[in-house]
């Protein structure tokens, strides 16, 4: 072997060994556990895919992740647009708010929603005022899970869209306008297509993070709103069903790796964290 090659491997070796021992091996271990049923190797998977209760949770996970992604996109796109196109003090202020939310612990934000939506919080207070005695429950519902996740994920979406919008040269829009495009046409045919890579990035990130998210659904949802991560957690903490938990983890991991593979095929994985 050539000398520089040896040196390169020596530099890379520590992190490779570290990740092989403390990351790949534990993952391999749960994979093996998931395919070591007593009667048949795939017992745990068969059980998972033939039990309605589990199927509903799996579908719910992707359903909630989908809606959260759509809501995040609808809210984040205009925000990023104003940050980039209006700019100035307003744009800077909005960008600071997004950055602050991004760096604030999920637990702090979840706690805030617990207070806001809770039985002794402002939302229920207002509802009580309109309908004394039979105000609907807001906390521990699908609504509180979705709003908590949207609030948690929106900084990722804004950052992704902002990053691609910022690269758009305003001269493109001026050129479109000078050729007779109305502002709306300029947006539709020039700005929107150029901002799409950021939209794809943001949606991929938000969907993937949401689908495997543990803390928010567990703290803000009721029994009817649990997602697959919460289910895995429950198998670990309460039921001690390692085999079932491992199979569920593998299903989740597989679904997410498929999404990454699709993204890699059409966009290129190196662009996701760019």
């Amino acid at each position: 072997m050539r000398r520089p090659l040896v040196r390169a491997w020596m530099l890379v070796a520590p992190v490779m060994v570290f990740l092989a021992v403390t990351f790949l091996f534990p993952l391999l271990e749960i994979f093996v556990l998931s395919v070591s049923g007593t009667n048949h190797w795939a017992d745990a998977y068969v059980e998972f895919f033939t039990t309605d209760f589990y199927n509903i949770i799996l579908l719910r996970t992707f359903g909630i992740a989908f809606f959260v992604t759509v809501f995040c996109l609808l809210l984040a796109y205009p925000l990023a647009y104003v940050i980039v196109r209006v700019g100035g003090g307003l744009g800077f202020g909005l960008l600071l708010i997004v950055a602050m939310s991004f760096w604030t612990s999920f637990l702090v934000r979840i706690f805030a929603w617990l207070v806001i939506l809770g039985n002794r919080g402002p939302v229920v207070g207002v509802l009580e005022w309109f309908a004394p005695g039979d105000a609907p429950e807001v906390l521990f519902t699908r609504f509180s899970v979705v709003i908590g996740l949207v609030h948690g994920m929106i900084p990722f979406m804004v950052m992704a869209i902002y990053a691609s919008m910022r690269k758009i040269d305003p001269n493109n829009l001026r050129a479109a306008a000078s050729l007779g495009a109305t502002p709306l046409q300029g947006f539709r045919h020039v700005f929107l297509p150029l901002s799409l890579p950021g939209v794809v990035n943001g949606c991929t990130l938000v969907f993937i993070i949401c689908a495997g998210f543990y803390v928010t659904p567990v703290l803000l949802g009721g029994a009817q709103d649990q997602m697959i991560a919460g289910l895995i957690g429950q198998q670990i903490e309460e039921l001690l069903e390692w085999e079932a938990a491992s199979a569920m983890a593998m299903v989740l991991l597989f679904a997410i790796l498929v999404l990454y593979a699709l993204y890699n095929r059409f966009v290129g994985l190196d662009k996701l964290w760019g």
């Binding site: 490779m16 749960i30 600071l96 617990l114 609030h151 543990y214």
Partner: protein, 262 residues
């Protein structure tokens, strides 16, 4: 455009308002979560700073995040040099492996560590959490360190060597000082990634190694402990200070850059 600005401001308010609701909550004297607070006092601040149920997890978080940061950088910096400056067979595979911990959901990682650490008696120990957090911080720090390396002009090193500096002198007098800001940012991200990490900590950081996020999770789920409002306010204050400082530093650097340009 006017209506767009209104929408954007509303979304901004949706993002910001919930963050700041924790501040009045922290001064509340209610024994549970209640807004608006019925009265104000500082009792929960005193409890946070004196109750060992809160002080120990806070100290643990700082210890674990610092160790994670050091271990992460020790692994990432050589690897980033090796990958950025050499083309070799298996290079992209190495790249994928380093990025892999970012792609696997934390709950899957948590389960894997729970089962892996159990027989090794690493569950509920500082070392276990540090190893787990290092895994998760490696890709984040790697992205930043690699980006820094890509922007480095190797002619600076060649110039130093041509003037008679040996490889060590070149590294410590030329390469490192130029790259230091990027490395510090990478280290900061590794620290924060560990300090903030919740899901894995919930499952493996029990007992004496409990971290602050784990304690906060329990305070919300099991106890409805109002001290959580104090912790939230303090964390929010840190984020606010960090944001202001980073804006200040960036403006100062830009001023410097324009000065040199003139």
């Amino acid at each position: 455009m006017k209506s767009l600005i209104v929408i954007a401001v509303c979304v901004g308010a949706f993002i910001a308002a919930p963050l700041f609701i924790v501040v009045p909550m922290s001064f509340s004297n209610a024994p549970s979560f209640q807004f608006p607070p019925p009265g104000y006092w500082l009792g929960y601040y005193e409890q946070y700073f004196t109750d060992y149920h809160w002080t120990i997890p806070t100290a643990n978080s700082f210890i674990i995040a610092t160790a994670t940061m050091l271990l992460t950088m020790a692994l990432v910096v050589p690897a980033a040099f090796g990958l950025a400056r050499n083309r070799f067979f298996g290079r992209s595979l190495v790249n994928y492996l380093i990025m892999a911990p970012l792609m696997v959901p934390h709950i899957v990682v948590a389960l894997a560590y729970y089962l892996f650490f159990g027989p090794l008696h690493l569950t509920g120990t500082h070392l276990g959490v540090i190893l787990a957090h290092t895994c998760l911080s490696v890709p984040v720090a790697f992205l930043i360190v690699t980006a820094t390396l890509k922007g480095f002009d190797r002619n600076l090193e060649r110039a130093a060597m041509s003037l008679g500096a040996g490889p060590m002198a070149t590294f410590f007098y030329v390469t490192l000082p130029v790259l230091r800001p990027g490395f510090l940012v990478g280290a900061l991200f590794a620290f924060l990634h560990s300090f903030d990490e919740t899901t894995v900590a919930i499952f493996i950081a029990g007992g004496t190694a409990a971290t602050l996020p784990r304690k906060m999770f329990e305070a919300i789920r099991l106890e409805s402990d109002p001290v959580i409002a104090v912790v939230s306010t303090l964390l929010l204050g840190l984020v606010l200070a960090g944001t202001v400082i980073s804006v200040f530093v960036r403006q100062r650097n830009e001023k410097k850059a324009t000065m040199y340009a003139d």
